[in-house]
């Protein structure tokens, strides 16, 4: 079966008054239906931009796609016009953003907002409403409202039909995020992109929201791209993970393989920086140095300036993603030696 989402060697430049920054340096990623991919990295690595690029929400004057393709079920998204992209958004690509407070219109009841999204999606696929397109507006609205109530129930909001008439401010943060998930799923998308969906929420609510996302994947036969800086979230929720650094994917593959046996020096460093039950006081490993300047990126591997295993050869060319043990792809030319040194 063809992959749901395929990003091939995507290069993105962002121009600012300081120059043009090479923010995405050859992103290659494949997401299949039923998979939850975590896209993880620290601030400035380009993970949010990758998510925005898929739905083309990044405005193209400052952004410029120099090379690469984004294929959704084989359809080249970068080649589509804005009008065509608009048809896909909400219908085939659902998005959830970080802050549930600012992403809901405070002036409208949530029922109206959900109905709007449902009707827009139904314009391109009447089957969503389970109501023929020939029916009058009133009937279609009714069907959309029914669907909205069902979605609210699905995301776990008690008293869904009654809550359709509530305003966003009458919900707590976690509830609002559930409403946003309902909105993202109401069009029955094939791909769900969630950009830091739980960062603004309390830990207890976070776990529930992640469980909710996971539960819906099978029902909708979706692929999910979960963008986050929190490796713990990835470990709990995702089936696969791609680790990003300074515009590159440095390691990707099944979550158990990447987190259980990290191969790339950055992945190792990242995991060593997270305090766990067994970390003794003073044993936490920080990472020296800072993220490179993407306007004048360093030659070759962008992590070389901070990598303890760096050699001269590392600065010659950007290391390609090579297959490694456990079904992973790792972008490091010293992979085998590092493995030996780590096991020694």
């Amino acid at each position: 079966m063809a992959a749901l989402l395929e990003i091939r060697d995507l290069h993105l430049h962002m121009s600012s008054y300081e120059g043009s920054a090479h923010v995405l340096n050859g992103i290659t990623l494949t997401v299949n239906r039923g998979e939850i991919w975590g896209l993880v990295g620290e601030s400035g690595c380009g993970k949010s931009l990758t998510g925005l690029s898929i739905s083309r929400l990044s405005p193209t004057p400052p952004a410029h796609y120099a090379a690469g393709q984004i294929l959704l079920d084989g359809l080249d998204l970068l080649g589509l016009s804005m009008a065509q992209m608009q048809k896909l958004r909400g219908k085939r690509i659902g998005m959830i953003f970080q802050d549930p407070t600012t992403n809901l219109n405070p002036a409208f009841r949530i029922g109206e907002q959900l109905v709007d999204v449902a009707l827009a999606a139904a314009r391109h696929d009447p089957a969503i409403l389970e109501c023929p397109a020939s029916e009058g507006r009133g009937v279609r609205r009714g069907a959309a409202r029914q669907l909205a109530g069902q979605m609210l129930d699905r995301v776990g909001i008690p008293n869904p039909q009654a809550r359709l008439d509530s305003y966003p401010h009458e919900f707590s943060g976690g509830m609002r995020q559930r409403v946003l998930i309902a909105m993202a799923l109401i069009g029955k998308p094939d791909l769900l992109i969630a950009d830091e969906p739980t960062t603004a929420l309390d830990v207890s609510v976070q776990a529930q929201i992640l469980k909710l996302i996971k539960a819906n994947v099978a029902d909708f036969d979706m692929g999910v791209l979960l963008i986050t800086h929190n490796l713990g979230v990835v470990a709990q929720t995702c089936s696969h993970v791609a680790v990003m650094y300074a515009g590159n994917i440095v390691e990707s593959g099944p979550v158990a393989a990447v987190i259980g046996q990290p191969a790339h020096p950055y992945t190792r460093a990242l995991l060593a920086a997270i305090p766990t039950r067994d970390t003794k006081r003073g044993m936490l490993q920080g990472l020296a140095g800072t993220v490179p300047n993407l306007i004048i990126p360093p030659p070759g591997c962008r992590f070389a300036t901070r990598c303890v295993f760096a050699m001269d050869a590392c600065t010659k060319a950007t290391p390609p993603l090579q297959p490694a043990a456990g079904g992973k792809l790792v972008a490091c030319i010293r992979l085998a030696e590092i493995e030996e040194m780590a096991n020694a």
């Binding site: 008054y17 300081e18 140095g289």
Partner: protein, 294 residues
């Protein structure tokens, strides 16, 4: 040590250079800057460079009354035979200086009142703001006229009169900025260190409110010059022979439209000055916009 020394991030773009770069991006701002530079040049050197300095002092040349624009008199002569160009050049000093005076005094008074109101809060805030509101209920020009008439003619009195109607705008602006700055984390941090209220106001809050004040001052310059001219037009303020754009326009009104050049030069000068300061103010506001900062 498991933590390490970091290098500084990014290319070291000086904040000022970046701001100037943004300023240069806008053609209109540059135009404004150039016009203001031109006006300021004449404000400083106008009197010295005027081709007919004796006319500025009040000298007459009745044989050359109402000469049309020509090589000797690029903007013609007026009813007293004085060179209009010289008068306008010299008038730049008076008008611009008066404008500066008004904006400076108005902003100082307004900043003090607004800062106290915003920082102290409570009944002091209420009293000061009601005083501000009262001053705002009286139309600015009328208030200035009343005070100027009471104080008598003269440059200084005119500036004071207009300033007293000018400060409320600054008071409101500064009060709003101070109220916002009071909630900033670095102010809470200063309180936690043990800083006294005076220190917090002068060292932490006020320096961070300077940008909007400067923008407002620049935008106000144009209107201040217009107000000064307005008072001169009505006959309050400076009196001839001191050249001032407003008085020049007032006198030329009677000789329109035959001797149109007597009005054109002071009118154009005023236009250039006001337009230039407005553009500059807009440009400064874009550059100093706090959203673009950081």
């Amino acid at each position: 040590m498991s933590y390490a020394m970091d290098d500084l991030t990014g290319p070291r773009f000086d904040k000022l250079r970046r701001a100037f770069f943004r300023f240069r991006q806008s053609k209109l701002s540059l135009l404004g800057g150039m016009l203001v530079a031109l006006v300021l040049f004449f404000a400083i050197f106008g009197t010295a460079l005027a081709p007919y300095p004796d006319h500025i002092a009040g000298g007459l040349d009745t044989s050359n009354r109402f000469v049309a624009p020509s090589w000797e008199h690029p903007f013609g002569t007026n009813e007293l035979g004085q060179d209009v160009l010289s008068l306008v050049m010299a008038g730049t000093t008076v008008s611009v200086l008066a404008g500066f005076g008004v904006v400076l005094i108005g902003s100082v008074i307004g900043t003090i009142i607004g800062a106290i109101a915003g920082f102290a809060g409570g009944w002091l805030d209420e009293v000061l703001m009601r005083l501000t509101d009262l001053t705002l209920t009286i139309p600015g020009l009328i208030l200035a006229m009343a005070i100027a008439a009471a104080l008598g003619p003269g440059f200084g009195n005119m500036v004071i009169a207009i300033s007293l109607s000018w400060w409320p705008g600054y008071a409101r602006l500064v009060r709003g900025e101070v109220l916002a700055a009071r909630e900033e984390v670095y102010v809470t941090a200063a309180r936690a260190i043990g800083a006294s209220p005076a220190r917090i106001l002068f060292r932490h809050i006020l320096p961070n409110t300077v940008s909007p004040i400067i923008v407002k001052m620049s935008l106000d310059m144009g209107f201040a010059i217009l107000t000064v001219a307005g008072l001169g037009f009505i006959g309050i303020g400076v009196r001839p022979p001191t050249p001032e754009w407003g008085t020049l326009l007032a006198i030329s009104r009677s000789y329109m439209p035959e001797y149109w050049w007597t009005a054109m030069a002071p009118g154009m000068a005023m236009f250039v000055a006001v337009f230039g300061f407005n553009l500059l103010g807009d440009g400064l506001r874009d550059v100093l916009d706090p959203k673009a900062r950081r």
